[in-house]
């Protein structure tokens, strides 16, 4: 890329702009659609300029939903999704950082075996083990509860593996210096390893939060009580609810609201996120 080729540049930009347009246009349409009154869509023509009903549509979606068609207001669903995503994220992070700590810094029998067992679970995403997991959760009486929504998704080989890789790049002398300085294992973990992992934690936080937020199949399976519906399910409910035509303006408002938190998380943690994926401070 040293050459400064005018046509090459032009061509590259065309491709990039096309790519961006393909991704952005549907999002734009969703946002536009969420600002028009219900009648607009019946005509079958999709307007491309913002309408005037934005406030009305969003307040309806958040506070009322389509109550008559069995879709609760999505305000509650947003909250549910948030709790589930946070529980999954925090649970995953704390369990995986601790297990990585154990695997890297302690010598115990079957250490390698345990590592591989954790690693193997990478091959078993929720969708593969969904029936037995459902059975277990049902037997524990955790259907229709936040515990049921989040606990089965908490175990994370990916995060454990990433933390393990990071810990292995931390110079061993740091641990030895801490030992000489009188810090026991947990103190070393808290005072030295955790602060050094901040950027990694942030990066994983973003990834895990979005993973948790976007869960669809699992919440759909174990929640029958509208009290525990999550926002991603809510979109589906909005579309299929009742016998009437889908209310596209409300569906689109729901879609936009559902997409918003992951975007915000990325915006706010972008700096740390990129740092965590690219940089290791030693």
């Amino acid at each position: 890329m040293v050459e400064n080729n005018r046509w090459g540049n032009f061509f590259a930009h065309v491709v990039l702009i096309l790519g961006v347009a393909i991704i952005v246009f549907p999002v734009y349409v969703a946002i536009i659609a969420s600002t028009h009154p219900p009648g607009t869509f019946v005509r079958g023509v999709m307007p491309l300029w913002p309408g005037t009903h934005a406030w009305e549509n969003y307040t309806t979606a958040i506070t009322e939903g389509r109550s008559r068609a069995g879709t609760p207001p999505i305000g509650g669903m947003l909250w549910n999704s948030f709790i589930m995503a946070m529980a999954i994220t925090i649970g995953k992070l704390s369990i995986s950082i601790l297990s990585a700590f154990a695997i890297v810094y302690f010598r115990f029998p079957f250490r390698i075996l345990f590592f591989w067992i954790i690693f193997l679970t990478l091959m078993l995403p929720v969708e593969v083990r969904i029936v037995p997991t459902f059975q277990v959760v049902a037997d524990f009486g955790m259907l229709n509860s936040f515990a049921g929504l989040s606990i089965p998704l908490i175990a994370s080989a990916t995060a454990t593996f990433l933390f393990r890789q990071f810990f292995m790049t931390v110079p061993e002398e740091l641990m030895e210096a801490a030992r000489v300085d009188g810090a026991g294992p947990m103190k070393f973990f808290k005072d030295i390893l955790l602060p050094l992992s901040v950027t990694n934690i942030a990066a994983l936080f973003v990834i895990m939060f979005i993973y948790g937020w976007n869960q669809y199949l699992w919440p759909l399976l174990i929640t029958t009580d509208p009290e525990y519906y999550t926002i991603v399910m809510g979109i589906q409910r909005m579309v299929t609810g009742g016998d009437s035509e889908p209310l596209w303006h409300l569906v689109m408002a729901t879609v936009v609201l559902a997409a918003l938190p992951p975007v915000l998380v990325i915006l706010f943690m972008q700096r740390l996120f990129v740092k965590g994926l690219t940089e290791t401070e030693k």
Binding site: P171, E173, L174, E176, A177, A178, R179, V180, D181, G182, A183, K187, D191, I192, P195, L196, E281, K282
Partner: protein
């Protein structure tokens, strides 16, 4: 302040590698002991055993009057300076120094006093609020020293602390560490592979080879009276020339070697013991061809080839001679400068 007593220390790694074998060493209070040897000789392992970072397979280790074999590093009252400094990257210099004290439950005022005192001693006072990555190599080295200093421990352990510095800084820090150690009078164990560093810093030198102590003594002892061919070759730079006795006997008059025992079949001569001055009574006279002249300003190294010996012999002169490469030169060597060894055992024989 304490003595360190090593009694038959052994280290065998899981897998059977014998890293340290039967080390006996008594370190006096306030003494600076330098462990020196080639890489893999077990010097770092031995230091880490004293620190408590490696378990002791056999033998007893006492710091002061306490047997510390089973104690954690923190309980041994030692402080260690690591080769790569091992500063906590996310902590300021102040916190790096204070961490060990905080963990030991010192009062805030006391921590503050000690840190500032150490920082002043090491001239890092203006960096206390900085992070290690904002410091130069030499400054980091000082912080690492400071972390050991604030603890006021019974012993300092240095694991090649200067090997990450450039040559100029290394010489400067060498002097500073030595002065500091003298002033504080803290028992110190210092590991290095640099024989010059070892010679200049040590009260007593310990030369290790293959996990075994070759010789212990003051630097000058080891220099002027090496007990083994290994020590002879390791201490002094350029290394001592090792000449077969048969070759020398063919070269010089028989009576000039008559004082050497019959078993001495390998004779060591230090490069600096060759002289261009006219030979005195009983001196050996050797002449050979100059292969290569390395002038170094104040001194010069001459790579000589003597007939009948197929290796280069290095001669060090305290001046640069006006000689051409290929020219024949004659040197005299005093009898007393000969180091006789037994070739087979590598031991000194007189």
């Amino acid at each position: 302040m304490a003595t360190i007593t090593m009694d038959n220390l052994c280290k065998v790694y899981t897998g059977g590698v014998q890293a340290v074998t039967g080390v006996n060493l008594d370190i006096a209070d306030g003494e600076m002991i330098v462990l020196v040897g080639p890489s893999g000789c077990g010097k770092s392992t031995l230091l880490r055993m004293v620190a408590g970072l490696e378990t002791i397979t056999d033998g007893t280790l006492k710091i002061g009057e306490r047997v510390v074999n089973a104690l954690e590093p923190a309980e041994r009252d030692i402080a260690m300076v690591f080769q790569n400094y091992a500063l906590y990257p996310h902590m300021t210099v102040f916190n790096n120094l204070a961490y060990g004290l905080k963990n030991r439950g010192f009062k805030k005022a006391e921590i503050d006093r000690r840190v500032r005192e150490a920082a002043q001693m090491l001239e890092i006072g203006q960096f206390l609020d900085r992070k290690p990555r904002q410091l130069s190599g030499g400054q980091r080295q000082r912080v690492a020293m400071g972390r050991a200093l604030v603890r006021e421990p019974a012993a300092f352990l240095f694991d090649e602390p200067l090997s990450n510095l450039d040559a100029k800084l290394r010489v400067q820090m060498r002097v500073e560490i030595r002065q500091l150690q003298r002033r504080l009078g803290t028992t110190s164990l210092y590991v290095t592979h640099d024989q010059l560093e070892a010679m200049t810093m040590a009260d007593r030198l310990v030369v290790l080879n293959g996990g075994v102590i070759e010789q212990v003594g003051t630097p000058m002892d080891l220099y002027s009276h090496p007990e083994t061919t290994f020590v002879a070759g390791f201490i002094g730079s350029p290394a001592m020339n090792m000449l077969p006795a048969d070759f020398l006997r063919a070269k010089v008059a028989a009576e000039e070697l008559a004082h050497l025992p019959a078993k001495a079949d390998l004779i060591g001569i230090r490069p600096e013991d060759f002289s261009t001055a006219p030979p005195g009574e009983g001196d050996l006279v050797l002449s050979g061809q100059l292969l290569l002249l390395e002038p170094a300003g104040a001194e010069s190294h001459l790579h000589m080839r003597f007939e009948g010996f197929d290796k280069n012999v290095v001669v060090r002169l305290s001046h640069v001679p006006a000689a051409e490469e290929g020219q024949d030169l004659t040197f005299s060597v005093r009898r007393a400068a000969l180091h006789p060894f037994d070739l087979e055992s590598g031991q000194r024989v007189a």
